[in-house]
Amino acid sequence: MSDAILPLIVTVVVLALVFDFTNGFHDTANAMATPIATGAMRPRVAVTVAAVLNLVGAFLSTEVAKTISGGLLKEGQDVHVGPELVFAGLIGATIWNLSTWFFGLPSSSSHALFGGLVGAAVVGAGFQAVDFGVLLGKIILPAVLAPFTAGVVAYCATRIAYAVTRRYDGHPDGRRVFRVGQVFSSSLVALAHGTNDAQKTMGVITLTLIAAGAQAQGSGPEFWVVLACAMAIALGTYTGGWRIIKTLGTGLTAVKPAQGFSAEVSTAATILASSSVGFALSTTHVASGSVIGAGLGRRGSSVRWGTARRIVLGWVLTLPAAAVVGAFAALLAHLGVVGIVIDVVVAVGFMVTVFVLAQPDRVDASSLEAEVNAAGAAVLQRGRKRRARA
Protein backbone atom coordinates (compact mmCIF):
# COMPACT_ATOMS: atom_id res chain seq x y z
CA MET A 1 0.00 0.00 0.00
CA SER A 2 1.36 3.40 -0.90
CA ASP A 3 1.65 5.95 1.88
CA ALA A 4 -0.42 8.53 0.02
CA ILE A 5 -3.52 6.39 0.13
CA LEU A 6 -3.17 5.28 3.76
CA PRO A 7 -5.03 8.22 5.38
CA LEU A 8 -7.94 7.69 2.97
CA ILE A 9 -8.13 3.97 3.80
CA VAL A 10 -8.08 4.74 7.52
CA THR A 11 -10.87 7.29 7.00
CA VAL A 12 -12.94 4.75 5.06
CA VAL A 13 -12.48 2.12 7.77
CA VAL A 14 -13.46 4.55 10.54
CA LEU A 15 -16.44 5.81 8.57
CA ALA A 16 -17.53 2.24 7.82
CA LEU A 17 -17.47 1.50 11.56
CA VAL A 18 -19.51 4.66 12.25
CA PHE A 19 -22.02 3.45 9.66
CA ASP A 20 -22.04 0.02 11.34
CA PHE A 21 -22.79 1.75 14.65
CA THR A 22 -25.76 3.66 13.18
CA ASN A 23 -26.88 0.39 11.58
CA GLY A 24 -26.94 -1.17 15.06
CA PHE A 25 -28.88 1.54 16.80
CA HIS A 26 -31.27 1.94 13.90
CA ASP A 27 -32.18 -1.73 14.00
CA THR A 28 -32.47 -2.39 17.75
CA ALA A 29 -36.15 -1.63 17.27
CA ASN A 30 -36.67 -4.47 14.78
CA ALA A 31 -36.17 -7.08 17.49
CA MET A 32 -36.81 -5.18 20.69
CA ALA A 33 -39.59 -2.61 20.09
CA THR A 34 -42.41 -5.07 20.77
CA PRO A 35 -41.03 -6.76 23.94
CA ILE A 36 -40.26 -3.31 25.36
CA ALA A 37 -43.78 -2.12 24.50
CA THR A 38 -45.47 -5.03 26.28
CA GLY A 39 -43.10 -4.97 29.25
CA ALA A 40 -41.78 -8.47 28.42
CA MET A 41 -38.29 -7.06 28.93
CA ARG A 42 -37.28 -3.81 30.56
CA PRO A 43 -35.74 -1.43 28.00
CA ARG A 44 -32.16 -1.67 29.31
CA VAL A 45 -32.35 -5.46 29.54
CA ALA A 46 -33.79 -5.68 26.03
CA VAL A 47 -31.05 -3.60 24.40
CA THR A 48 -28.37 -5.49 26.32
CA VAL A 49 -29.71 -8.84 25.10
CA ALA A 50 -29.93 -7.49 21.55
CA ALA A 51 -26.38 -6.11 21.74
CA VAL A 52 -24.91 -9.41 22.98
CA LEU A 53 -26.78 -11.39 20.31
CA ASN A 54 -25.64 -8.98 17.59
CA LEU A 55 -22.06 -9.36 18.82
CA VAL A 56 -22.32 -13.15 18.81
CA GLY A 57 -24.13 -13.12 15.47
CA ALA A 58 -21.39 -11.09 13.82
CA PHE A 59 -18.86 -13.83 14.61
CA LEU A 60 -21.13 -16.67 13.49
CA SER A 61 -21.07 -15.87 9.82
CA THR A 62 -18.23 -14.21 7.94
CA GLU A 63 -19.30 -15.06 4.46
CA VAL A 64 -18.53 -11.63 3.12
CA ALA A 65 -20.05 -10.42 -0.13
CA LYS A 66 -17.80 -10.60 -3.20
CA THR A 67 -18.80 -7.18 -4.40
CA ILE A 68 -19.35 -4.08 -2.28
CA SER A 69 -22.72 -3.39 -3.83
CA GLY A 70 -23.97 -6.97 -4.28
CA GLY A 71 -23.99 -6.65 -8.07
CA LEU A 72 -25.82 -3.33 -8.03
CA LEU A 73 -22.83 -1.55 -9.52
CA LYS A 74 -21.14 -3.09 -12.53
CA GLU A 75 -17.95 -3.50 -10.56
CA GLY A 76 -14.96 -4.94 -12.34
CA GLN A 77 -16.37 -4.66 -15.89
CA ASP A 78 -16.27 -0.96 -16.55
CA VAL A 79 -16.52 0.51 -13.10
CA HIS A 80 -13.79 0.73 -10.54
CA VAL A 81 -15.24 1.37 -7.10
CA GLY A 82 -12.25 3.03 -5.51
CA PRO A 83 -11.85 4.02 -1.87
CA GLU A 84 -12.99 7.61 -2.50
CA LEU A 85 -16.31 6.37 -3.94
CA VAL A 86 -16.84 3.97 -1.03
CA PHE A 87 -16.04 6.89 1.26
CA ALA A 88 -18.65 9.12 -0.41
CA GLY A 89 -21.22 6.31 -0.36
CA LEU A 90 -20.68 5.75 3.36
CA ILE A 91 -21.14 9.46 4.04
CA GLY A 92 -24.48 9.39 2.22
CA ALA A 93 -25.60 6.27 4.10
CA THR A 94 -24.57 7.51 7.55
CA ILE A 95 -26.12 10.94 7.12
CA TRP A 96 -29.41 9.46 5.92
CA ASN A 97 -29.47 6.93 8.78
CA LEU A 98 -29.07 9.74 11.30
CA SER A 99 -31.78 11.81 9.62
CA THR A 100 -34.34 8.99 9.75
CA TRP A 101 -33.36 8.31 13.36
CA PHE A 102 -34.06 11.96 14.16
CA PHE A 103 -37.60 11.55 12.83
CA GLY A 104 -37.96 8.18 14.58
CA LEU A 105 -38.43 6.32 11.31
CA PRO A 106 -37.37 2.69 10.95
CA SER A 107 -35.59 2.64 7.58
CA SER A 108 -33.37 0.04 5.96
CA SER A 109 -29.64 0.56 6.54
CA SER A 110 -28.87 -1.59 3.48
CA HIS A 111 -30.95 0.71 1.33
CA ALA A 112 -29.07 3.68 2.74
CA LEU A 113 -25.72 2.02 1.99
CA PHE A 114 -26.72 1.01 -1.55
CA GLY A 115 -28.21 4.44 -2.16
CA GLY A 116 -25.04 6.20 -1.06
CA LEU A 117 -22.89 3.93 -3.24
CA VAL A 118 -25.15 4.39 -6.28
CA GLY A 119 -25.02 8.17 -5.90
CA ALA A 120 -21.25 8.16 -5.56
CA ALA A 121 -20.82 5.76 -8.51
CA VAL A 122 -23.05 7.83 -10.81
CA VAL A 123 -20.88 10.87 -10.13
CA GLY A 124 -17.68 8.87 -10.42
CA ALA A 125 -18.49 6.72 -13.43
CA GLY A 126 -21.85 7.82 -14.89
CA PHE A 127 -25.28 6.19 -15.05
CA GLN A 128 -24.02 3.15 -16.94
CA ALA A 129 -22.24 2.10 -13.73
CA VAL A 130 -25.55 1.10 -12.16
CA ASP A 131 -27.31 -2.14 -13.06
CA PHE A 132 -30.92 -0.97 -12.91
CA GLY A 133 -32.25 -4.53 -13.38
CA VAL A 134 -30.55 -5.56 -10.15
CA LEU A 135 -31.77 -2.35 -8.51
CA LEU A 136 -35.38 -3.24 -9.35
CA GLY A 137 -35.24 -7.00 -8.81
CA LYS A 138 -33.06 -7.21 -5.73
CA ILE A 139 -33.82 -4.00 -3.89
CA ILE A 140 -37.02 -2.23 -4.90
CA LEU A 141 -39.39 -5.18 -5.40
CA PRO A 142 -38.31 -7.04 -2.23
CA ALA A 143 -38.85 -3.80 -0.31
CA VAL A 144 -42.41 -3.67 -1.61
CA LEU A 145 -43.08 -7.37 -0.99
CA ALA A 146 -41.47 -7.68 2.47
CA PRO A 147 -43.93 -5.65 4.55
CA PHE A 148 -46.94 -7.23 2.83
CA THR A 149 -45.60 -10.75 3.32
CA ALA A 150 -44.79 -10.16 6.98
CA GLY A 151 -48.04 -8.29 7.49
CA VAL A 152 -50.18 -11.16 6.17
CA VAL A 153 -48.20 -13.74 8.17
CA ALA A 154 -48.44 -11.69 11.38
CA TYR A 155 -52.15 -11.02 10.82
CA CYS A 156 -52.89 -14.75 10.55
CA ALA A 157 -50.64 -15.61 13.51
CA THR A 158 -52.29 -12.94 15.68
CA ARG A 159 -55.78 -14.15 14.79
CA ILE A 160 -54.74 -17.67 15.78
CA ALA A 161 -53.19 -16.52 19.07
CA TYR A 162 -56.36 -14.71 20.12
CA ALA A 163 -58.80 -17.34 18.85
CA VAL A 164 -57.01 -20.15 20.70
CA THR A 165 -56.68 -18.32 24.02
CA ARG A 166 -60.13 -16.67 24.08
CA ARG A 167 -62.22 -17.93 27.00
CA TYR A 168 -65.98 -17.64 27.34
CA ASP A 169 -66.29 -18.92 30.92
CA GLY A 170 -64.99 -15.83 32.69
CA HIS A 171 -61.75 -17.43 33.90
CA PRO A 172 -58.43 -15.64 33.25
CA ASP A 173 -57.09 -16.40 29.77
CA GLY A 174 -53.40 -16.37 30.73
CA ARG A 175 -52.32 -14.13 27.81
CA ARG A 176 -49.67 -12.56 30.01
CA VAL A 177 -47.66 -15.77 29.44
CA PHE A 178 -47.04 -14.65 25.85
CA ARG A 179 -44.50 -12.28 27.36
CA VAL A 180 -42.29 -15.27 28.21
CA GLY A 181 -42.41 -16.36 24.58
CA GLN A 182 -41.55 -12.84 23.48
CA VAL A 183 -38.15 -13.05 25.18
CA PHE A 184 -37.21 -15.97 22.92
CA SER A 185 -38.84 -14.81 19.71
CA SER A 186 -37.27 -11.36 19.86
CA SER A 187 -33.86 -12.81 20.73
CA LEU A 188 -34.05 -14.93 17.60
CA VAL A 189 -34.69 -11.83 15.50
CA ALA A 190 -31.71 -10.08 17.14
CA LEU A 191 -29.39 -13.02 16.41
CA ALA A 192 -30.51 -13.22 12.79
CA HIS A 193 -29.88 -9.49 12.48
CA GLY A 194 -26.34 -9.82 13.83
CA THR A 195 -25.38 -12.55 11.36
CA ASN A 196 -26.64 -10.48 8.44
CA ASP A 197 -25.91 -6.85 9.09
CA ALA A 198 -22.36 -6.76 10.43
CA GLN A 199 -21.45 -8.66 7.23
CA LYS A 200 -22.13 -5.65 5.07
CA THR A 201 -19.60 -3.48 6.86
CA MET A 202 -17.05 -6.30 7.00
CA GLY A 203 -17.49 -6.65 3.24
CA VAL A 204 -17.03 -2.95 2.60
CA ILE A 205 -13.86 -2.76 4.72
CA THR A 206 -12.38 -5.98 3.33
CA LEU A 207 -12.99 -5.03 -0.29
CA THR A 208 -11.50 -1.58 0.34
CA LEU A 209 -8.40 -3.17 1.84
CA ILE A 210 -8.13 -5.55 -1.14
CA ALA A 211 -8.51 -2.65 -3.57
CA ALA A 212 -5.74 -0.79 -1.73
CA GLY A 213 -3.48 -3.81 -1.99
CA ALA A 214 -3.30 -4.32 1.77
CA GLN A 215 -4.89 -7.73 1.52
CA ALA A 216 -4.71 -10.61 -0.95
CA GLN A 217 -7.33 -10.80 -3.71
CA GLY A 218 -10.25 -13.04 -2.75
CA SER A 219 -9.23 -13.44 0.89
CA GLY A 220 -11.70 -13.29 3.76
CA PRO A 221 -11.94 -10.54 6.37
CA GLU A 222 -9.06 -10.12 8.80
CA PHE A 223 -9.84 -10.94 12.42
CA TRP A 224 -9.53 -7.32 13.52
CA VAL A 225 -12.11 -6.33 10.91
CA VAL A 226 -14.59 -8.93 12.20
CA LEU A 227 -13.92 -7.87 15.79
CA ALA A 228 -14.25 -4.14 15.07
CA CYS A 229 -17.47 -4.59 13.08
CA ALA A 230 -18.98 -6.85 15.73
CA MET A 231 -18.13 -4.33 18.46
CA ALA A 232 -19.44 -1.37 16.46
CA ILE A 233 -22.80 -2.96 15.70
CA ALA A 234 -23.18 -4.27 19.27
CA LEU A 235 -22.34 -0.87 20.75
CA GLY A 236 -24.82 0.79 18.41
CA THR A 237 -27.49 -1.74 19.35
CA TYR A 238 -26.83 -1.18 23.06
CA THR A 239 -27.08 2.60 22.64
CA GLY A 240 -30.58 1.87 21.37
CA GLY A 241 -32.34 4.01 18.83
CA TRP A 242 -35.05 4.83 21.37
CA ARG A 243 -36.93 7.10 18.98
CA ILE A 244 -37.38 4.28 16.50
CA ILE A 245 -38.24 1.81 19.27
CA LYS A 246 -40.98 4.22 20.35
CA THR A 247 -42.39 4.51 16.82
CA LEU A 248 -42.41 0.78 16.18
CA GLY A 249 -43.48 -0.28 19.68
CA THR A 250 -46.13 2.31 20.50
CA GLY A 251 -46.54 4.63 17.50
CA LEU A 252 -48.08 2.25 14.98
CA THR A 253 -50.43 0.40 17.31
CA ALA A 254 -50.65 -0.42 21.02
CA VAL A 255 -48.88 -3.78 21.02
CA LYS A 256 -50.14 -6.41 23.53
CA PRO A 257 -48.23 -9.58 24.51
CA ALA A 258 -50.15 -11.93 22.20
CA GLN A 259 -49.62 -9.53 19.29
CA GLY A 260 -45.99 -8.95 20.15
CA PHE A 261 -45.26 -12.67 20.21
CA SER A 262 -47.10 -13.25 16.92
CA ALA A 263 -45.32 -10.31 15.28
CA GLU A 264 -41.85 -11.47 16.36
CA VAL A 265 -42.44 -15.09 15.33
CA SER A 266 -43.65 -13.81 11.95
CA THR A 267 -40.59 -11.58 11.58
CA ALA A 268 -38.22 -14.42 12.48
CA ALA A 269 -40.00 -16.91 10.20
CA THR A 270 -40.06 -14.50 7.24
CA ILE A 271 -36.42 -13.50 7.59
CA LEU A 272 -35.16 -17.05 8.06
CA ALA A 273 -37.26 -18.37 5.18
CA SER A 274 -36.07 -15.59 2.88
CA SER A 275 -32.39 -15.81 3.77
CA SER A 276 -32.32 -19.60 3.38
CA VAL A 277 -33.53 -19.41 -0.22
CA GLY A 278 -31.27 -16.43 -0.94
CA PHE A 279 -34.15 -14.02 -1.44
CA ALA A 280 -33.00 -11.45 1.07
CA LEU A 281 -35.61 -9.22 2.68
CA SER A 282 -34.77 -6.23 4.84
CA THR A 283 -35.26 -6.88 8.58
CA THR A 284 -36.66 -3.37 8.98
CA HIS A 285 -39.33 -3.79 6.32
CA VAL A 286 -40.29 -7.22 7.64
CA ALA A 287 -40.49 -6.10 11.28
CA SER A 288 -42.58 -3.02 10.45
CA GLY A 289 -44.97 -5.12 8.34
CA SER A 290 -45.32 -7.63 11.18
CA VAL A 291 -46.28 -4.95 13.69
CA ILE A 292 -48.96 -3.58 11.34
CA GLY A 293 -50.26 -7.10 10.64
CA ALA A 294 -50.44 -7.84 14.36
CA GLY A 295 -52.24 -4.53 14.91
CA LEU A 296 -54.88 -5.46 12.33
CA GLY A 297 -55.22 -8.98 13.75
CA ARG A 298 -56.54 -8.01 17.18
CA ARG A 299 -60.20 -7.17 17.63
CA GLY A 300 -60.78 -3.58 18.62
CA SER A 301 -57.19 -2.57 17.94
CA SER A 302 -56.36 0.20 15.54
CA VAL A 303 -53.37 1.00 13.37
CA ARG A 304 -52.30 4.63 13.07
CA TRP A 305 -52.07 4.84 9.30
CA GLY A 306 -50.58 8.34 9.48
CA THR A 307 -47.50 6.90 11.18
CA ALA A 308 -47.42 4.01 8.72
CA ARG A 309 -47.50 6.49 5.83
CA ARG A 310 -44.58 8.44 7.31
CA ILE A 311 -42.58 5.22 7.63
CA VAL A 312 -43.33 4.21 4.03
CA LEU A 313 -42.39 7.70 2.84
CA GLY A 314 -39.08 7.23 4.66
CA TRP A 315 -38.53 3.93 2.83
CA VAL A 316 -39.30 5.49 -0.55
CA LEU A 317 -36.91 8.37 0.11
CA THR A 318 -34.06 6.31 1.60
CA LEU A 319 -32.43 5.18 -1.64
CA PRO A 320 -32.66 8.47 -3.60
CA ALA A 321 -31.85 10.67 -0.58
CA ALA A 322 -28.76 8.66 0.38
CA ALA A 323 -27.82 8.69 -3.32
CA VAL A 324 -28.03 12.49 -3.51
CA VAL A 325 -25.88 12.92 -0.40
CA GLY A 326 -23.46 10.28 -1.69
CA ALA A 327 -23.28 12.10 -5.04
CA PHE A 328 -22.46 15.44 -3.41
CA ALA A 329 -19.85 13.79 -1.22
CA ALA A 330 -18.34 12.18 -4.34
CA LEU A 331 -18.26 15.53 -6.15
CA LEU A 332 -16.31 17.03 -3.26
CA ALA A 333 -14.04 13.98 -2.99
CA HIS A 334 -13.05 14.56 -6.62
CA LEU A 335 -11.27 17.73 -5.49
CA GLY A 336 -8.73 15.50 -3.80
CA VAL A 337 -7.53 15.73 -0.22
CA VAL A 338 -9.19 19.13 0.36
CA GLY A 339 -12.55 17.76 -0.76
CA ILE A 340 -12.30 14.71 1.46
CA VAL A 341 -11.41 16.87 4.45
CA ILE A 342 -14.43 19.12 3.70
CA ASP A 343 -16.59 15.98 3.43
CA VAL A 344 -15.44 14.72 6.80
CA VAL A 345 -15.91 18.11 8.48
CA VAL A 346 -19.41 18.53 7.02
CA ALA A 347 -20.40 14.97 7.98
CA VAL A 348 -19.14 15.32 11.55
CA GLY A 349 -20.81 18.74 11.81
CA PHE A 350 -24.08 17.21 10.60
CA MET A 351 -23.89 14.38 13.15
CA VAL A 352 -23.24 16.78 16.02
CA THR A 353 -26.09 19.07 14.87
CA VAL A 354 -28.57 16.18 14.70
CA PHE A 355 -27.63 15.01 18.20
CA VAL A 356 -27.92 18.54 19.60
CA LEU A 357 -31.29 19.10 17.87
CA ALA A 358 -32.51 15.76 19.26
CA GLN A 359 -31.75 16.70 22.86
CA PRO A 360 -34.89 18.73 23.77
CA ASP A 361 -37.30 15.85 23.16
CA ARG A 362 -34.93 13.09 24.12
CA VAL A 363 -36.34 9.57 24.18
CA ASP A 364 -34.39 7.15 26.35
CA ALA A 365 -34.75 3.97 28.37
CA SER A 366 -36.34 5.59 31.41
CA SER A 367 -38.84 7.79 29.55
CA LEU A 368 -39.90 4.82 27.45
CA GLU A 369 -40.25 2.60 30.51
CA ALA A 370 -42.41 5.21 32.24
CA GLU A 371 -44.66 5.32 29.19
CA VAL A 372 -45.00 1.52 29.08
CA ASN A 373 -45.77 1.40 32.82
CA ALA A 374 -48.40 4.10 32.46
CA ALA A 375 -50.08 2.17 29.65
CA GLY A 376 -49.91 -1.01 31.73
CA ALA A 377 -51.49 0.73 34.74
CA ALA A 378 -54.35 1.96 32.56
CA VAL A 379 -55.00 -1.58 31.30
CA LEU A 380 -54.93 -2.93 34.86
CA GLN A 381 -57.37 -0.33 36.11
CA ARG A 382 -59.81 -0.99 33.32
CA GLY A 383 -59.63 -4.71 34.10
CA ARG A 384 -60.32 -4.11 37.79
CA LYS A 385 -63.30 -1.93 37.03
CA ARG A 386 -64.74 -4.51 34.72
CA ARG A 387 -64.23 -7.23 37.31
CA ALA A 388 -65.86 -5.08 39.98
CA ARG A 389 -68.88 -4.63 37.75
CA ALA A 390 -69.19 -8.34 37.00
Binding site: H171, P172, G174, T195, S266, S276, L281
Partner: protein, 91 residues
Amino acid sequence: MSIDWLAFLAVFGAALVSACLIVLCFAAAIRLLATPPIGAKPGGAARDEEMDAVERGARRLLATIGAVVLFVISGAAVLVGVYLIVPALHS
Protein backbone atom coordinates in the same frame (compact mmCIF):
# COMPACT_ATOMS: atom_id res chain seq x y z
CA MET B 1 -36.12 -7.70 -14.13
CA SER B 2 -34.60 -10.61 -12.28
CA ILE B 3 -37.05 -11.43 -9.55
CA ASP B 4 -37.63 -15.08 -8.79
CA TRP B 5 -41.38 -15.27 -8.14
CA LEU B 6 -41.26 -18.98 -7.35
CA ALA B 7 -38.68 -18.34 -4.63
CA PHE B 8 -40.82 -15.54 -3.28
CA LEU B 9 -43.89 -17.77 -3.11
CA ALA B 10 -41.83 -20.44 -1.35
CA VAL B 11 -40.68 -17.86 1.22
CA PHE B 12 -44.23 -16.65 1.72
CA GLY B 13 -45.63 -20.16 2.16
CA ALA B 14 -42.87 -21.34 4.46
CA ALA B 15 -43.07 -18.23 6.65
CA LEU B 16 -46.87 -18.37 6.86
CA VAL B 17 -47.04 -22.07 7.74
CA SER B 18 -44.16 -22.07 10.23
CA ALA B 19 -45.19 -18.86 12.04
CA CYS B 20 -48.80 -19.99 12.34
CA LEU B 21 -47.81 -23.45 13.61
CA ILE B 22 -45.46 -22.03 16.26
CA VAL B 23 -48.02 -19.48 17.45
CA LEU B 24 -50.69 -22.21 17.45
CA CYS B 25 -48.50 -24.43 19.66
CA PHE B 26 -47.65 -21.66 22.11
CA ALA B 27 -51.23 -20.36 22.27
CA ALA B 28 -52.61 -23.87 22.79
CA ALA B 29 -50.12 -24.38 25.62
CA ILE B 30 -51.34 -21.16 27.26
CA ARG B 31 -54.93 -22.27 26.73
CA LEU B 32 -54.17 -25.52 28.57
CA LEU B 33 -52.36 -23.67 31.38
CA ALA B 34 -55.40 -21.45 31.75
CA THR B 35 -57.66 -24.45 32.40
CA PRO B 36 -59.61 -23.46 35.52
CA PRO B 37 -58.26 -25.21 38.64
CA ILE B 38 -60.18 -28.17 40.03
CA GLY B 39 -63.06 -26.95 42.14
CA ALA B 40 -62.90 -23.38 40.76
CA LYS B 41 -66.10 -21.36 40.91
CA PRO B 42 -67.79 -20.58 37.60
CA GLY B 43 -66.30 -17.34 36.33
CA GLY B 44 -69.35 -15.53 35.01
CA ALA B 45 -69.19 -13.28 31.96
CA ALA B 46 -66.76 -13.91 29.10
CA ARG B 47 -63.42 -12.10 29.41
CA ASP B 48 -61.14 -10.82 26.72
CA GLU B 49 -58.12 -9.49 28.59
CA GLU B 50 -54.54 -8.87 27.48
CA MET B 51 -52.58 -9.06 30.72
CA ASP B 52 -54.30 -11.98 32.47
CA ALA B 53 -52.03 -14.22 34.51
CA VAL B 54 -52.84 -17.91 34.83
CA GLU B 55 -55.03 -18.84 37.83
CA ARG B 56 -53.25 -20.55 40.72
CA GLY B 57 -54.38 -23.93 41.99
CA ALA B 58 -54.21 -27.58 41.02
CA ARG B 59 -54.99 -28.11 37.36
CA ARG B 60 -55.91 -31.39 35.77
CA LEU B 61 -52.67 -33.34 35.25
CA LEU B 62 -53.43 -33.94 31.58
CA ALA B 63 -53.71 -30.20 30.94
CA THR B 64 -50.34 -29.54 32.58
CA ILE B 65 -48.63 -32.33 30.63
CA GLY B 66 -50.17 -31.10 27.40
CA ALA B 67 -49.01 -27.53 28.08
CA VAL B 68 -45.45 -28.64 28.85
CA VAL B 69 -45.28 -30.75 25.68
CA LEU B 70 -46.50 -27.82 23.58
CA PHE B 71 -44.02 -25.42 25.21
CA VAL B 72 -41.22 -27.88 24.47
CA ILE B 73 -42.31 -28.02 20.82
CA SER B 74 -42.27 -24.20 20.68
CA GLY B 75 -38.80 -24.25 22.25
CA ALA B 76 -37.65 -26.73 19.60
CA ALA B 77 -38.80 -24.25 16.96
CA VAL B 78 -36.39 -21.69 18.44
CA LEU B 79 -33.59 -24.24 18.16
CA VAL B 80 -34.49 -24.85 14.50
CA GLY B 81 -34.27 -21.07 14.07
CA VAL B 82 -30.78 -20.98 15.61
CA TYR B 83 -29.80 -23.91 13.36
CA LEU B 84 -30.92 -21.95 10.31
CA ILE B 85 -29.12 -18.79 11.47
CA VAL B 86 -25.73 -20.36 12.21
CA PRO B 87 -24.12 -21.37 8.91
CA ALA B 88 -21.58 -23.64 10.62
CA LEU B 89 -24.42 -25.96 11.67
CA HIS B 90 -25.94 -26.64 8.27
CA SER B 91 -23.26 -26.17 5.63
